[in-house]
């Protein structure tokens, strides 16, 4: 045993002084109170009987002295704060991972407490009862694990770090946190890893058993039970292809409960003005408290939902100036309660309407001409013949995208381009000899250009099968009459073009994105399909970096890339809660990972560059729905075991014994046993 607060000499001095003072006080003759009595002989008679037990009297006084000596000694030890000398074998290391993902915001039935609150309480309990020889660390897991404290043996430090923990709106697995926790415990004595979670993301114990070091003691504690939930699983907005002034809003709702419920869905067009109440929104509508933004209601509709049913609602209206929408969902009175409020709010922004300057090199294509005429606000088309293009190669009008038709360039352009029916090996896209009547067999559903395209039964008179280079992506694949493979549409990744800017050329510049279509659309019925304008528009948006042009929302917890002007080097990101953070820009792309539902505003100084709507990601149906009984999802160590592990500081025990002794002395004194 050693002393945490005093060295041995100081301890001995304090103990000696305490005992010395006590002995002096015992030796000192206390002046007795004088009481005048009549006829002292009668008192003498009573006192004589007491004096007959003088030996016992002395013993009792000595017993009192011993009690006091023990009291002083215990207090001296308590002040010195004795600690058990920790054998390296006894030293322990403990990483406590608190699940900070979105579902931990779920309220516990019948309380205002959330699962995360319960998890913090449990972590606090673990920290307070940990053995004194244990180094502990708290990690909160969301998109990425975040250590809240270094390894510490001081329970107060650990508890204080727990109080700083906060949940996020991110849905993520605990994999990375577990891996990081195991890393933290590498080469540490008696490693122990504890996870406190609601098991919405199942922990596959066997998997982790194999991945974690054999010596690692792993345990999981469950918080939360079955919860009722209805939510907005996705919300996206786009401009109408027919009339860009009209917005189209798609909301997907789902009832995760086993009972039919009714809910009210409201759509708000919001501004960037923050608010706490309607008083803050005078002249700007009402305060949408779920998003803390001022806005005006656009639609309110009641949506009945059967058990497990998914419902999609679409809304149209005139585009608001701000182009920001907030959807809120509330369970109708009398319906099943909703314990998970995070997915009752979703946000969306209308994609910007940049004017794209298109240079169309062609001898005439009414189909493409008609397509661009549909959206004059988006496209500024300059049409020129191949001959004119060649003659004015050095004095071309400003353009963002080039469409080559009836012409195959020999040099790779500096801006993204589309080339139709390239032939020969010298073209940017090499091709094989012409084949007749190829049939479309495969369309890539992953690429943003062809994700929503239907090319079934497209008739193509002839095509030049493309020879994709390494890195090229075949988006549409066909088969020739002879059975040969015919790549019909190939995309080549490269530099994107921000609208309104021009790619800087020069030696060493990155080649632009490009698309090759292996056939002449005029010699197929593809130009008559709905897919044709979609392909062209998707391609132009892809060239501009808008990979998902109809969905201007981002998933929380997922790293996002936002195109910004190339000249920007550092941006300020304003989060939905109003806090600000900085992020770098590389190649005109800013990257960040939203962790709250709401609008993220990217600014370069005072100039607003982009507004991004972040929502809970819809990647699996079960994300928002916890298991039927989270506690039963894995083994949970009984609470009693926690108590077994609990330990108290020795000084506390010493003080308790001292108090017990002084109580005993008090009782014995007042019962005249020790006087």
């Amino acid at each position: 045993m050693n002393f945490a607060r005093l060295d041995m000499q100081l301890f001995a001095a304090i103990l000696g002084a305490g005992i010395g003072v006590m002995v002096i006080l015992y030796i000192l003759k206390v002046r007795r109170r004088r009481v005048v009595v009549p006829h002292i002989e009668l008192w003498q008679f009573a006192a004589r009987r007491r004096e007959a037990r003088t030996l016992w009297q002395h013993l009792r006084r000595f017993f009192s002295f011993l009690l006091q000596a023990a009291f002083v000694t215990l207090l001296a030890f308590a002040i010195a704060d004795p600690q058990r000398i920790i054998d390296p074998v006894d030293a322990r290391s403990h990483v406590i991972i608190i699940d900070g993902t979105a579902t931990m915001r779920t309220r516990l039935a019948g309380t205002t407490e959330t699962r995360f609150d319960r998890a913090k309480a449990l972590a606090r309990q673990l920290a307070e009862r940990k053995p004194s020889a244990e180094d502990a660390m708290i990690v909160v897991s969301s998109a990425h694990p975040t250590p809240l404290s270094p390894f510490s043996r001081d329970a107060t430090t650990i508890v204080e770090s727990i109080s700083r923990a906060a949940p996020t709106d991110v849905h993520a697995t605990l994999d990375e946190a577990l891996r990081r926790g195991a890393d933290f415990l590498l080469n540490r004595p008696s490693p122990r890893l504890t996870v406190i979670t609601d098991f919405v993301t199942p922990l596959v114990e066997k998997k982790w058993r194999n991945a974690l070091p054999a010596a690692l003691h792993f345990e999981a504690h469950g918080v939360g039970e079955r919860a009722a939930n209805i939510g907005i699983t996705s919300l996206s907005a786009r401009r109408s292809l027919a009339d860009p002034r009209i917005y189209e809003l798609f909301a997907s709702l789902r009832n995760f409960n086993e009972a039919e419920t009714s809910s009210e869905l409201s759509i708000y067009a919001v501004t960037g003005k923050r608010c706490a109440s309607n008083l803050d929104c005078v002249g700007a509508g009402e305060c949408v408290t779920e998003a803390s933004l001022c806005g005006t209601v656009q639609e309110t509709t009641r949506v009945p939902l059967k058990p497990g049913e998914r419902v999609i609602r679409t809304f149209t209206g005139e585009s608001s100036a701000a182009g920001r929408f907030v959807a809120t969902l509330a369970a109708s009175p009398g319906s099943t309660s909703d314990d998970f409020p995070t997915d009752n709010v979703a946000t969306a922004t209308l994609p910007p309407r940049p004017l794209t300057r298109v240079l169309h090199v062609t001898n005439g294509n009414l189909y493409l001409k008609g397509l661009f005429a549909l959206a004059p606000e988006q496209f500024d088309v300059t049409e020129m013949t191949p001959d004119r293009f060649k003659s004015k190669a050095n004095s071309l009008p400003a353009h963002d995208v080039i469409l080559f038709e009836d012409f195959v360039p020999t040099e790779i352009p500096r801006v993204p381009y589309v080339v139709f029916a390239p032939s020969g090996n010298d073209a940017p896209f090499a091709s094989a000899p012409e084949v007749k009547l190829p049939l479309v067999t495969d369309v890539s559903k992953k690429h943003p250009i062809t994700r929503w395209l239907a090319l079934k039964d497209v008739n193509i008179a002839s095509a030049f099968p493309l020879k994709p280079r390494a890195g090229d992506t075949v988006l549409v694949r066909g088969i020739s009459a002879t059975g040969g493979d015919v790549p019909l549409v190939v995309a080549r990744d490269g530099a994107i073009a921000a609208p309104g800017t021009r790619s800087s050329g020069g030696p060493g510049h990155v080649q632009p994105r490009a698309l090759a279509i292996a056939f002449d659309v005029r010699r197929s019925d593809f130009a008559l399909r709905v897919s044709f304008p979609l392909l062209i528009i998707n391609t132009i948006h892809w060239f501009q970096g808008q990979s998902d042009s109809d969905t201007a929302t981002y998933g929380t917890g997922i790293a996002q890339r936002v195109n910004v002007p190339r000249e920007s080097r550092s941006l300020t990101i304003e989060t939905p809660s109003g806090s600000k953070a900085r992020t770098g820009v590389v190649g005109g792309v800013a990257s960040f990972a939203p962790n709250q539902v709401g609008f993220y505003v990217l600014r370069d100084g005072d100039r607003e560059l982009a507004t991004v709507a972040a929502n809970l990601p819809e990647s699996a149906d079960s994300h928002f729905s916890p298991p039927a009984d989270a506690r039963a999802a894995t083994r949970i160590e009984p609470r009693a075991k926690l108590v077994e592990r609990a330990s108290f500081d020795i000084w506390f025990i010493l003080v308790a014994i001292a108090l017990a002794l002084t109580t005993l002395e008090w009782v014995s004194y007042h019962r005249r046993l020790t006087v």
Partner: protein, 295 residues
């Protein structure tokens, strides 16, 4: 305030008058000065015969008896006289204890008994004693002397130590006539109370002992280490007061009282216990009922 009024106010006098009426009912048909003294003297009521001795007054010779028995017998008559009531009040320091003090209770009792006796035309004398005779009020007769008696009692204060034997001896030594002696004291006497009572018996007084006691002493609530100081002798005793010690002290008090009562019984002396917490009328009535004070 007048000291007499302080101790013997109007209410007290009313209570005395009531006691007097009660005393009259108890002794029915008594007339004034009808108490018979034991002394044989010149009264009119025949008492006895005795042999004639030389020098006797021949007027009292019973000639009829001489004619019948040829013996010279002298006729004796019981002398009628008023009774002497001696009230002896202990004025030692120990009588200052109690609430009210034992001394006040003794004074009230003495005043009550004196009032009754004077009302019955007896002679009443009061003596205050401690370790000697401290003050004395000569025996006097008649109701008019009651206020002299009150003034005397009011002027007394408890003082020095106790030596009842010496004090009583001195008291009876100077007394002109014997009679009834009422001794009011707590009998806390380091020298012993026995000789004092014996002196009264020996000198043929009719002693009545009234022990003034305090049934609720304030010291019972005291606890812990104390130094007890005797109020009379100044002797000290270091003691640790506990419930046990207090219990043993109470036992000592009880033993002391029982010893006194037994001693009085053995010597044919009336004994009364008078707690200070009890109204003095109760003690007086008990005294009346005992039958010796009123004759």
């Amino acid at each position: 305030m007048n000291k007499r009024l302080q101790y013997f106010d109007g209410d007290f006098l009313k209570q005395l008058e009531l006691l007097h009426i009660i005393s009259k009912k108890i002794v029915v048909g008594r007339e004034r000065a009808e108490r018979k003294a034991k002394r044989i003297g010149s009264g009119v009521e025949f008492a006895d015969h005795r042999e004639y001795v030389l020098g006797d007054d021949l007027r009292y010779l019973d000639w009829n008896a001489y004619g019948r028995s040829d013996r010279m017998l002298l006729r004796l008559f019981q002398e009628e006289e008023d009774l002497h009531v001696n009230l002896i009040v202990d004025g030692s320091a120990s009588m200052a204890a109690g609430h009210p003090t034992k001394f006040d209770t003794a004074r009230r009792l003495a005043a009550a008994l004196g009032y009754i006796a004077l009302a019955n035309l007896d002679r009443v004398g009061v003596t205050c004693v401690d370790d000697a005779v401290r003050a004395r009020s000569p025996a006097s007769r008649g109701r008019s002397h009651i206020f002299h008696l009150f003034d005397f009692l009011s002027g007394l204060e408890p003082g020095a130590g106790t030596d009842l034997a010496t004090a009583v001896k001195n008291t009876v030594h100077g007394a002109e006539r014997r009679g009834m002696a009422v001794l009011l004291s707590d009998f806390f006497d380091a020298h012993g109370y026995e000789n004092a009572i014996r002196w009264l018996v020996y000198r043929r007084y009719s002693p009545i002992v009234i022990q003034i006691v305090d049934d609720a002493p304030t010291t019972t609530t005291l606890r812990g280490d104390v130094e007890l100081v005797d109020c009379e002798s100044g002797r000290t005793l270091a003691a640790t007061l506990s419930p046990t010690v207090h219990r043993e002290y109470r036992d000592s008090i009880t033993t002391h009282e029982h010893n006194l009562e037994r001693f009085c019984t053995e010597n044919n002396v009336l004994y009364f216990r008078a707690p200070v917490q009890q109204p003095f009328q109760d003690v007086v009535l008990r005294l009346f009922r005992a039958g010796r004070f009123l004759k």
